[in-house]
């Protein structure tokens, strides 16, 4: 037995050496499986984001598969939990890329998890397409050489500029404050917002932060109030933002708030009337008038997940869901262009996708050799929304739209 083992080992090693010497076969040259692997939070405090993503992707794939799939084969979705931890996300990426041999990987919510994937993805030659995590560094790599990561989502560097402009337009005193959560997403936005403020000629009158799980932000709010801040740019998610609103309510501080897209319907459910008038930058809104395509998408989700999706208000991650919807369709387009379940060809095909989605006309979706444009959604596609009567509405449908 042992003798055979060593013979085989020796033979294999010799063969491997010979192969490696002749041609270094890129891993991606192997035919990949028609599956989309995703690593996201299935459990834990952000499980709901994962659920919304799952609802969107499964519905979209059902629709695509019903129409014959892609290249004659149905697309599968495999979901792995990363509990929000980067190391687990890399485990999952390896599982998706190596064990399941999926043709593409889909991204979850967390920015650090996406950052941790940079090297493994490049090493495996596995294209990645993100629909949530908005950190600038996810797409714009410090070495300038992002080849495998694409995104159909917001980009913090652009969002900060957008929000600063909105805040500047609404601030009476010109004193704008920045409040962010102590996560990679929140901290990562800080340099972007400073730069955006400089560009817009605004001086930030206050910068405050809080941690996930914090329950009272009185100290931060008192400091902002005392600094005369009348408009806040907010970078945080539902629960902590709700607690922040409570702290403001206590001290009777009511500045205008323009927020990144961490605020969703769940926020309004948590704080009730206090949410009224808070503005949120997003890519899409389901509560306004819908295009036939969007209506069809919503109806399909409603039909497939009747327990979860009853009204458009149940689309708890409105922008992320639209992003994911568009992303998965562009992926199908790209696969058709690639003509085969081949990762490298898929990667190259992404640059040739032109597609009209729910959010935008992506023409082209991505630009080769320009990592800034590995983001499909541009700042001009961002839409301001506002909470009104407990719903997140397009700003035009609320009393908070500015008459220009």
């Amino acid at each position: 037995m042992a003798g055979r083992l060593w013979t085989v080992l020796a033979r294999r090693t010799a063969m491997a050496a010979a192969v490696a010497g002749a041609v270094a076969l890129p891993a991606a040259a192997q035919r990949a499986e028609p599956c989309i692997g995703i690593s996201m939070e299935v459990t834990g405090p952000l499980a709901n984001q994962g659920l919304m993503l799952r609802i969107t992707l499964e519905t979209a794939l059902e629709k695509i598969n019903a129409a014959g799939g892609v290249l004659g084969r149905p697309l599968r979705l495999v979901i792995y939990d990363d509990v929000g931890e980067p190391a687990r996300a890399v485990d999952n990426a390896r599982r998706i890329g190596e064990r399941d041999n999926c043709v593409v990987m889909f991204g979850g919510a967390r920015t650090p998890n996406a950052i941790a994937l940079r090297e493994p993805l490049a090493e495996m030659g596995l294209p990645w397409i993100g629909a949530i995590s908005a950190g600038t560094a996810v797409i714009e790599h410090p070495n300038g050489k992002n080849e495998w990561m694409f995104r159909v989502s917001m980009k913090d560097r652009w969002v900060t500029g957008y929000l600063i402009d909105q805040a500047k337009a609404r601030s009476a005193s010109g004193k704008i404050g920045f409040v962010y959560e102590g996560t990679a997403w929140g901290q990562g936005a800080l340099p972007d917002i400073e730069a955006a403020a400089r560009r817009a000629g605004v001086t930030l009158a206050g910068r405050e932060t809080f941690n996930i799980g914090d329950q009272d932000m009185s100290a931060q709010m008192i400091r902002l109030r005392d600094a005369g801040v009348d408009t806040i740019v907010l970078w945080a998610v539902d629960r902590e933002s709700a607690n922040m609103l409570r702290s403001m309510d206590r001290i009777g501080y009511r500045p205008k708030i323009v927020s990144a897209w961490g605020l969703t319907t769940a926020f309004a459910r948590a704080v009730g009337p206090l949410a009224e008038g808070i503005m949120v930058a997003g890519t899409f809104n389901w509560n306004g008038p819908l295009s036939p395509e969007a209506q069809a998408a919503f109806d399909a989700m409603k039909a497939k997940f009747p327990d979860r999706i009853r009204t458009t208000a149940d689309m708890e991650q409105p922008s992320a869901m639209a992003n994911a919807w568009d992303a998965v369709h562009m992926l199908a387009e790209a696969l058709k262009i690639a003509g085969a379940y081949d990762r490298t060809r898929l990667r190259d095909a992404f640059y040739r996708v032109n597609y009209t989605g729910l959010i935008a006309d992506y023409r082209p979706a991505f630009i080769k050799g320009n990592q800034e444009r590995h983001d499909a959604i541009l700042a001009e596609h961002y839409k301001l929304q506002a909470f009104h009567n407990g719903m997140l509405m397009p700003i035009e449908a609320t009393p908070y739209g500015m008459r220009n």
């Binding site: 405090p45 008192i222 009777g252």
Partner: protein, 291 residues
């Protein structure tokens, strides 16, 4: 001045929660020399079950009572199923792991069934804050120190004046001797965990309206309640109350004048320092090392 008032008020309310949860740990520790390590989940269940009951149409007060009762029952069941079998030998730490295991199950089941989103627990007391100049406080938050006071006095009364309470104290003092005089020590321990569950769930119900109900709301509260109880010297109820309130208030002042982001780093460092200075806890009696 206004700001200081604000920090005192919010500190008092959050400190009352720490203290109440700390009292829960005190009650458990006294009876069993072990605790439910994931006690924060009982706190969470108090709030979450109230929301669930209100969802199915139960009015606020009965929903609160039902939730607290159910959580307390569960807390007692955890003692029977997950603490007692693993606490038979001195210095056993099995209970620490089994209660962590059951806590994981409770929290993940809640996330799966209730959702990971925070939910509003509506009471009339959080509709509008009371304003005092530029500071303010929700009546709900004022309820917390009041409840703490009632609970602390009630606990004292219970321990001193009722048969069951005295029996519990006897068990805490000397389990074997209590058994010899006919006290069912196991039953007292079970009741103690139920009582602690009552305290924990009550604090969850009371803080829920302010910080929203969610599957993960109890984790940090539970941990801080535990640390506060330890800092106080876990065998001293009054000490736990004082330490809890003090920690809540000092957190607010740390946030106000040192750093909001590094609040826990500063607060926990302070705790370690205190433990080094007072190895038995701030209010613990210096135990004489017996040889």
């Amino acid at each position: 001045m206004e700001a200081i008032l604000q920090y005192l008020l919010t500190g008092l309310s959050v400190g009352s929660v720490y203290a109440m949860v700390g009292l829960g740990f005190y009650v458990m520790w006294s009876a069993a020399k072990a605790v439910n390590f994931n006690f924060g989940d009982i706190v969470m269940l108090g709030a979450v079950l109230t929301v669930v009951l209100m969802d199915v149409g139960v009015p606020l007060l009965p929903a609160c009572l039902g939730a607290v009762a159910a959580a307390a029952l569960l807390a007692a069941a955890i003692e029977r199923g997950f603490v007692r079998p693993f606490n038979r030998e001195a210095n056993a730490i099995g209970w620490m792991l089994t209660t962590i295991a059951v806590g994981t199950m409770i929290e993940s089941a809640t996330t799966a069934l209730f959702g990971s989103n925070p939910r509003r627990l509506e009471t009339p007391l959080v509709e509008a804050p009371l304003r005092i100049g530029g500071s303010g406080i929700y009546p709900q938050e004022l309820l917390l120190p009041v409840a703490l006071l009632v609970v602390a006095v009630g606990l004292e009364f219970f321990y001193r004046r009722t048969i069951t309470g005295r029996a519990m104290r006897a068990v805490a003092y000397n389990r074997t001797a209590a058994g010899l005089v006919g006290i069912d020590a196991d039953r007292m321990t079970l009741l103690s965990f139920g009582l602690a569950g009552l305290l924990g769930a009550l604090s969850g119900v009371l803080i829920g309206p302010v910080i929203q109900a969610s599957a993960t709301m109890g984790a940090i509260i539970g941990l801080k309640g535990f640390l506060v109880a330890i800092i106080a010297g876990i065998a001293n109820a009054r000490g736990v109350v004082i330490a809890g309130v003090l920690y809540g208030v000092s957190e607010k002042f740390i946030e106000a004048y040192l750093s909001t982001a590094a609040r826990d780093a500063i607060g926990f460092s302070l705790m370690v320092l205190l433990l080094l200075l007072f190895p038995q806890g701030l209010f613990g009696k210096a135990e004489f090392k017996k040889v």
